[in-house]
């Protein structure tokens, strides 16, 4: 038995068990319609979830991109101060961030795709639900329970198949959103742990060291100016000038 046969049989079996649930086939119509509306709400929620997950990844990406700029500047600064060791750390972090950005870009594209698919699904299901509603009222008004049987079976089977399909799409989207959420959480934790630079967090080691070097340079500079302004007393030697000591 091939994949198509299996899939078709499986879905049809599920639908016929749904059809057998009610004695009066007209009840099946109402019940099915209720389920359709529920499903439509689920699809809409699915779209919203995908959008939220995508936005979160986009924010993380933007954050990492601005980190890269900072790390570039830090590396340059470190090199100009002769601190190749710090430059290396900054460049390594930059490389990590770039790899993360690449993977985030792929994930965002994936979610974008999922969003488009779900929006299309929603549109199609809406059209079908509306058509079903009209059909349902016509069937209920024009036929007795016995006569309506065939018409009901046909339309409920058709819409149930759509519902099974949409249900699977929503589930797939949910699974994808969940796994992206987990991954983006892991990335947040990575940023918090300091493996990657977090702009809102504490200063990184590179930044700290650079600012230390900078402040000692500034002190040297100030000292130089001070020395020019304050005349050294004739008696005292340079090292003994108290103002000049650090």
């Amino acid at each position: 038995m091939g994949i198509l046969d299996r899939l078709t049989t499986m879905i049809k079996a599920k639908i016929s068990s749904f059809l057998d649930r009610h004695e009066d086939p007209r009840e099946t119509l109402d019940y099915s319609y209720e389920k359709q509306l529920e499903l439509l709400t689920n699809v809409k929620r699915g779209v919203a979830d995908v959008v939220t997950a995508k936005k979160r990844l986009e924010l993380q990406k933007a954050k990492l991109e601005s980190n890269i700029e900072d790390l570039n500047n830090q590396a340059r600064e470190a090199v100009s101060l002769g601190r190749d060791d710090l430059a290396r750390i900054a460049l390594e972090r930059k490389k990590d961030s770039m790899a993360q950005i690449e993977s985030l870009t792929a994930q965002i594209a994936d979610l974008e795709n999922e969003q488009i698919k779900l929006v299309n699904t929603e549109r199609r299901l809406s059209a079908k639900v509306e058509a079903f509603r009209t059909k349902k009222e016509t069937i209920k008004a024009q036929y007795s329970a016995a006569e309506a049987q065939v018409k009901i079976t046909e339309s409920v089977t058709g819409i149930s198949e759509e519902m099974a399909d949409v249900g699977m799409s929503v589930q797939r989207a949910e699974e994808k959103t969940e796994s992206m959420k987990a991954r983006s959480q892991a990335l947040d934790e990575l940023i918090d742990a300091g493996t990657l630079q977090d702009l809102t967090g504490d200063q990184t080691k590179v930044e700290e060291e650079l600012s230390k070097i900078k402040s000692s340079e500034e002190v040297d500079q100030e000292l130089k100016i001070l020395k020019q302004q304050v005349p050294v007393k004739k008696k005292a030697k340079t090292e003994e000038t108290p103002e000049a000591q650090q």
Partner: protein, 92 residues
């Protein structure tokens, strides 16, 4: 006949393509049991493409059951394998 591609749409397709679809279906099953994901995917994509190119999408407002249901274009071999287990892939 009416063919549904899961997660995509329903298409009206001439029955003369049924042999072609069966052939590609067998191709998928073979590669599934041999663990050849790439070949499995290429058969699947050829199937999807055949339906999309040779068929016409069914009007969304028309409610009709399909004669044949084809997996979603992004189904993985793992998911396809579940079709052959007791639980299947349909939720609920």
């Amino acid at each position: 006949m009416i063919v549904r591609i899961l997660g995509d749409n329903q298409y009206v397709l001439d029955s003369k393509y049924l042999d072609k679809l069966n052939e590609l279906d067998n191709c998928m099953v073979d590669h599934l049991s041999n663990d050849e994901a790439d070949k499995f995917n290429s058969c699947l994509h050829e199937m999807i493409q055949t339906i999309r190119e040779r068929g016409t999408p069914l009007d969304p407002a028309e409610i009709r059951p399909s004669d044949l249901i084809v997996p979603s274009p992004d189904i993985t071999p793992e998911e396809a394998r579940k079709l052959f287990t007791k639980d299947g892939i349909i939720p609920g």
